[in-house]
Amino acid sequence: MKGMEGRDIVAGYGKIEVLHGASVRAGQGEIVCIIGPNGSGKSTLLKSLFGLIMPREGAVLFAGRDITRLAPEEKVRLGIAFIPQGRNVFTSLTVRENLEMGGTPLDHEREVRRAIDEVLEAYPLLKDKLRYPAGNLSGGEKQLLALARADMVKPQVILMDEPSIGLAPRMIEEVYEQIKAINAKRSVTFLIVEQNARKALSIAHRGYVLDLGVTRIEDSGAELLNNEEVKKLYLGG
Amino acid sequence: MKRFALIVSVFSLLACFSVAPLWAAENVKIGAAFALSGSIAVYGEGFKKCVDLAVEEINAKGGINGKKIEIVYEDNKSNPKDCVSAVRKLITVDKVPVLFGPAGSSNFMAAAPVAQESKVVMLSAQGTAEKLTQAGPFIFRIIPSNSKQGQRLAKLAFELGYRQLPVMYINNDWGLDLKDGFVTSFKKMGGVVTDIIPFDEKKTDYRTELLRANKDNPKAIVNLTYINEGAVQFKQAFEMGVKTQWLCGSAARAPKMVELAGKAAEGVMGTYPSVIQDTKEYKTFKAAYQKKYGDDKIPIFGDYNYDMVYLTTRAIEKGGYTAEGIRAALPAAAKGYKGVTGDKTFDENRGMEHADIGIWIVKGGKIEDHKK
């Protein structure tokens, strides 16, 4: 299998154990969405997959290979990108420089320039802002920039943490359109953690519901949306 | 815990060193609390060279009554606190009855009460502050005080026809003391001090201070400065096109200063506790120095330190190897004694009776005595 998989991951911060054995799998070209109430360990799961937190137990597999212990830098070189929640652009760098940073794994300046041109084709919104510090962008533009930066090296898997957080509805739409476009064009695998479950599930091929550190439900996006238990988990109702 | 053990073992290793056997105990030991590290270590090195030279000579001639002189050097780290502990250590551990005090008036004055209280003789070959020996009868100075030098400097300014001039001085004990001495005498003579500019030690940039001193293009500027500071200043003044007659004190009179400042030092004049270099004693000393160290650049005050060793030796020979004996014998030993630096007779304040203040001038890259 070409996609990415996390098996029985146990992880946490210091004394806190957040994940008690969570498993997710995303096949190649799949958009997989992980939803769940706040504090259920969604972000932790994503960070464990990427190696920002070393899982205490469990394994992370990429294209069938065990990459649990690889450092984030190395995972980037394998073609895995991670877009964190919140502070996900270099605010003091310009938009162009942010893109260049995304191109770090590329060997030549020339390739970086070509990659920027290609990315700008796909993200026309960023074109006019190239020379501005990324800190001046609006929340939605930052999210797009973060996506574009990850896209610089044409990764096979993109892990996204709460892409819609704090965005205006129009921008949420924009970001998700972009995700769909990338997925459609290069069949990139997406693993998205999302609070905004309805939006995410509407584009996801499959979804997981994470609750209290374990994956509870796995189903297709549309099914999950109509699942009574999902509503219950969210609103305790 | 393992790490802690490591640290402990390092300390105990050091402790082992400290109980290592003493060096030959038969010698006549003299303490020397010199600056071997810290800000004025540059002077301390020079003093040490000359002291070593004198000791070598005396020991070659059989020492004191057959016993060899041994100097116990103690680093005073150029600060008063360590001066005090260095002196304290020399007195209590090495039990020396006489010691050579630290350079720098404030360092010396911090340590002097300790010597006085312990009734141990302490001599200064470079402390020029007027009050240096006030701590008590065990404290001696074999170099003339600043007030005499200040007077001479004021007189020099008058002789050269300068009635109005600004004064720059290094903002430390020596500079302030000499500045006061100069200003008082100069005003008394009717001169006008146009500006007084203190400057900090060890800076690298004195341009604006120099600019301010040179504001009205004075014919002369009094600059009471040290070696390094002086070199930097003369160089920077030269570069800025300051054309004036520099009048300095003794601390700048060093071959090193001329070496550092190059042609910018040309023509700089100053006063210094005179050492008549034409004397037989001085020439012998200079030759001996050259033979031992390979150059004839006598370190500043090195000659006084050299004399200090001989003077102390004489006092020990006369009064015996006890503090009280040395203290009592010193004035007699010094009376009329002609050292390298001239007549070493003490006055009633245990300073120098005869203060021959000479004038130096830089000519052709060499420091010479100024001849009228």
Binding site: G14 | F11, S18, K48, P80, R88, V93, Q134, D173, L176
Partner: protein, 296 residues
């Protein structure tokens, strides 16, 4: 023997000095880089008064009080700053204090310093010999130790430690961080003043050159070496550091080496510091409960 007494006095005075810094650095988390200023204020005020024939008791109280007031005046602006900024601001203030001592020649005799400071006399007890002076400084050190110990173990000290650990959390529990930091700063300054007074009357000669950044660094090293935030740390640090520095004097090395001995000793000192920081950054005495702390 005199050397031992002498060093014991120095250790006692530096213990007071370090204890006073520890209440700021160790207990309240204030990285004061200008602590020597208050030492200097204490020393100068007391010395100047004594030279005007004031009694020692008066000079002592005035020295401590002026150092405390100095702390208040410097703390007012400086405590508005955080972390490194506070450190560099206090460093700047200390340099300004030193420059005042150096340049206000009319008051302080400037770089000439103040010689002949009398040895103390309290109620006709003379402290003019080393053992007597040791008694006096030991008394003062024990007093300082007890007062600072009492303070740090009291509810007041609890608030200081809370502010050190988490200023915001302390504030939302109703503790005014600025006020408490100010109190700690003033207390620290006053005790540094006490150390300064004792120093001046012990050495009997002071000049502005005694109160440089080097002294601040030394006392900071004592606190860190001994173990900051512990009661015994500063005392142990002072003893170890001063005896270590002095012990090098007893290395019986050939006289020809003396020229390189000074720098060599300082090199070893620097190296030991580095090694200590790598292997035991919490100092010789460890504050309990520290190993679990990851936020700083």
């Amino acid at each position: 023997m005199d050397l031992v007494l002498h060093l014991a006095i120095v250790v006692a005075i530096y213990s007071i000095f370090a204890l006073s810094l520890n209440i700021e650095v160790g207990y309240t988390g204030l990285f004061n880089f200008g602590h020597v200023a208050f030492f200097a204020i204490g020393a100068y005020v007391s010395a100047l008064l004594s030279l005007q024939d004031a009694t020692f008791s008066l000079a002592l109280i005035a020295g401590i009080a002026c150092a405390g007031v100095g702390g208040l005046l410097i703390g007012l602006p400086a405590l508005k700053l955080q972390g490194d900024y506070f450190g560099i601001a206090t460093l700047g203030f200390a340099e300004i204090v030193r420059m005042l001592l150096q340049n206000q020649v009319a008051w302080t005799k400037g770089p000439m310093g103040l010689p002949g400071i009398p040895r103390p006399e309290i109620f006709s007890w003379h402290f003019d010999t080393l053992p007597a002076y040791l008694l006096l400084t030991l008394g003062a050190a024990v007093l300082t130790f007890l007062v600072i110990g009492f303070l740090t173990l009291s509810p007041f000290g609890r608030v200081l430690k809370a502010i050190r650990d988490d200023e915001t959390a302390a504030a939302v529990l109703g503790k005014n961080p600025f006020a408490y930091k100010m109190e700690a700063f003033v207390i620290g300054s006053a005790f540094a003043g006490l150390a300064g007074v004792l120093w001046a009357h012990f050495i009997t000669f002071i000049s502005p050159g005694d109160f440089t950044l080097t002294e601040t660094i030394l006392v900071l090293l004592i606190v860190v070496l001994g173990g900051k935030g512990t009661l015994w740390g500063p005392v142990v640090g002072a003893a170890v550091l001063i005896f270590f520095q002095e012990s090098v004097r007893f290395l019986r090395l050939p006289p020809e080496w003396s020229g390189i001995l000074g720098p060599l000793q300082q090199m070893i000192f620097g190296l030991l510091l580095v090694i200590l920081m790598i292997f035991r950054p919490e100092g010789l005495i460890r504050e309990k409960g520290k190993e679990t702390i990851d936020r700083d």
